[in-house]
Amino acid sequence: MSDRLHDPLRDRFTAIADLRDDSDWLDVRRRARRAARRRSLLAAAAAVAVVLLLAAPALGLHRVVVSFFDSEPAPQRVQLDFARQELGAPKGMAPGAIPDQTRKVVVPTANGGRTFVWVAPTRSGGFCVRWEDPVGGCRTRAVGGQIGAGWMGRSEDLTFVYGAVLSDDAARLELRYEDGTATDVPLTWVSPPIDAGFYFLEIPPAHLEDGARASELVLYDEAGGVLATERAPVLDPLTEEDPTTGVPRIVRYDERRLLHSITTENGRTIELYEAPSRRAGTCAWLESRGTLYRAFFGCAVGSGSTPTIGAGLAGGSAPVLLTGMVSDDVARLELRFQDGDRIEVPAIEGFVVAELPRQHWAPGHRLELIVAFDASGTELGRKPWDPTTRGVYPCAKQDEVDLGLGVTTCP
């Protein structure tokens, strides 16, 4: 069927169409690269948080050695960043950075360039870092991996690798490629209390192609013995989000079923969907206005893989939701509050979603216990919930707690 032969409507649209071409394909490519890097930063930060082995302080002559305390002190804004990181950490998770000892360490890159990293020692003997291209994280000195690499980019397009090795025996770091070639990665050893070898490498364009990509890092000792290897990450394409839905591709989205829908106190409709996984089991997620909501997404391989109460609070802003999975035998959850109030939440095919009413946001009225029951009313399990955890329940600006250095949170 065609409407092209004679269509006065087309003439009218053509007459008012803006025919200016302000397209910019290079900008599209830049945005695509930037986003890929942003996404990798989270993974990189997690990788850097890996716990590693304490190294002895001896320094070999084969290394470029930088004296930590002779390095340039960090300006106040950088110190504040590290300090805020401490203040903003969840209870018991603060890395213990010593912000006012932060130094700037210049690190040569393999292609003759230079970058730098802000390094702050921690009270436990580890260190926190923030690279020039702001990726960062903290490491403690305990048993674990030795190379501690962070990778930027994705499996098909890894563009940078960086990190710090802690093994005192480390003499040389090598990046191997799929085509059998390899590149030496310069190590810049920073003296105690940091005592680690930093590295940063931009992967050459020739090694961004199929069959020649980065495959692994290998750490050698002085005698050429292999101390450690670390494989380049391979992204599972099924874990990537479908850009049209925001939901990971592992879901057979066309087969989704609406399990439950709620309308929150602020008028938002939140829907709970379920669909088969492309691997095994089923996945569930929340949608609002047609897209994944608050990144709530989970898959269960089968019965027995889900804890009795795998649900918890998702808050920080309104609405505060109780959401998650429960075991197949759970028929309902009972939410018990500090003020004695109780709310029942039905389990729908192994999932729950409910809003915590505003009257249960204030201290003294908050959730403190979740109890699971089966269809006969038999109690199946309990899950305590700490009502004093900060940042879960929204609050008015004037009620925020000032943690110092400009960091505030709801009590």
Binding site: L9, R20, D21, A35, E240, G290
Partner: protein, 157 residues
């Protein structure tokens, strides 16, 4: 075989102006439409390997661009909300009669009209972009044209 990334670039180079004009009808101005197009194509490029090829790539990219546009407007996304996408001429004074006539159409029908006449998508591409059948697209456009013709006649009369 031509890669998906190359096809996305081809769609961009051939369809940019049409996509921008159609999306501007959704966002309300061309600058934000341009931003959504740039972001949408960037997302499509990043996800090129995930394009399953079970429909026209133009429709797939359009969906992504529409989602970008709705996000930029602080709203949600495409499918469930297609009936909520309030598209309209960016400059209604350029053709007030047409603008008025378009406003009389239901939201989804109006969007299909913009996809046809601004983005120049085929019936098959519109069908895939809006998750409806080609027959529905044909019927919708026929109804839209009739409705618009009637409206415009009334205005003229």
């Amino acid at each position: 075989m031509e890669s998906h990334a190359a096809r996305i670039e081809q769609v961009y180079r051939e369809r940019y102006v049409g996509f921008r004009n159609a999306l501007a009808a959704v966002t309300g101005d061309r600058d934000s439409a341009r931003d959504a197009i740039q972001e949408g194509f960037a997302r499509a490029l990043r996800s090129a390997r995930g394009f399953r090829g079970d429909g026209p790539i133009e429709a797939w990219v359009w969906k992504i661009c529409l989602r970008s546009a709705l996000e930029l407007r602080g709203r949600g996304s495409r499918h469930a909300s297609l009936d909520d996408v309030e598209a309209g001429l960016v400059e209604p004074l350029a053709d007030p009669m047409l603008a008025d006539a378009l406003r009389q159409l239901p939201a989804r029908r109006r969007l299909i009209v913009f996809l046809r006449y601004f983005a120049d998508l085929s019936y098959a591409e519109i069908a895939a972009a809006c998750d409806v059948s080609e027959g529905t697209v044909a019927a919708t456009l026929t109804q839209a044209r009739a409705s618009l013709a009637e409206q415009l006649q009334e205005v003229k009369g």
